[in-house]
């Protein structure tokens, strides 16, 4: 699946997007955050406070306990500051 990162999540990870194959035990958004955090210190830094991380699956806001099944595009970003 495709991952997208925005704002300081993107800056900390050091890339705007990537393709990943997560292992089978990664079933929810929270699982994915945990798995990504173990991939390197830039990921650990980006996700150090999971409570402030927002996620979207296929362009719609989702909660951390949402299942990843069927997701094509998953985005991680800080709270929005538009308007």
């Amino acid at each position: 699946m495709k991952l997208l990162y925005f704002a300081w999540v993107r800056e900390r990870i050091g890339k705007a997007d990537e393709e990943v194959e997560a292992p089978a035990h990664v079933r929810t958004v929270a699982d994915l955050v945990g798995w990504l955090s173990g991939r390197g210190e830039q990921y650990a830094y980006a996700f150090e406070n999971p409570k402030v991380i927002r996620a979207a699956i296929d362009r719609a806001h989702v909660r951390a306990d949402t299942a990843l099944a069927g997701a094509h595009e998953i985005a991680f970003f800080p709270p929005m500051t538009g308007g």
Binding site: L4, F6, A7, W8, A56, R59, A60, H61, A75, F77, P78, P79, M80, T81, G82, G83
Partner: protein, 154 residues
């Protein structure tokens, strides 16, 4: 209902957008326009990052929600992205209705949601440093009140 949603790097003409929404529509009695402007309180510039695709879809979902809650004749939303300097326009929300209560309520509703739900992030430049703007609790509370209230006033 006339609906225009645009994300763009370029400036917009708030007056022209309002005139375009009302033109030839004698059923419109009330037009409310909100223009958000980049303030110069210590910042030299601001860069707006957005999530292309999701931003348009998220705004469209909130326009549909506003249409369900109030009797609207038209909505125009324009949100800029890229680098802006103090005095530059950031966002425009225009709502049109037969009566003023619906137009005011829908414009406030849409602005509250743009602030907290639309995927945009602001990065401010102050002198030599730049930092991402923190989300404000006040904005979350402003958006939250629309969930509590059932006052879909005209």
């Amino acid at each position: 209902m006339m609906r225009t949603i645009r994300l763009q790097r370029e400036d917009f003409d708030a007056g022209a957008e309002q005139a375009a929404l009302a033109r030839g529509r004698p059923d419109i009695g009330a037009l409310v326009a909100f223009t958000g402007i980049c303030r110069g309180d210590g910042i030299s510039a601001m860069t707006l990052e957005h999530y292309p695709g999701m931003a348009e879809e998220e705004i469209a979902r909130h326009v549909e929600e506003a249409e369900r809650r109030w009797s609207l004749k038209g909505v125009t939303i324009i949100h800029r992205f890229g680098r802006l300097v103090p005095g530059d326009n950031i966002v425009l929300v225009v709502t049109a209705s037969a009566h003023r209560a619906a137009a005011f309520a829908a414009a406030e509703f849409l602005m509250d949601y743009l602030k907290t739900q639309a995927p945009f992030w602001k990065r401010e430049e102050r002198g030599d440093s730049a930092s991402w703007v923190d989300a404000k609790a006040a904005d979350d509370q402003a958006a939250e009140r629309w969930n509590r209230r059932a006052d879909a006033a005209e």
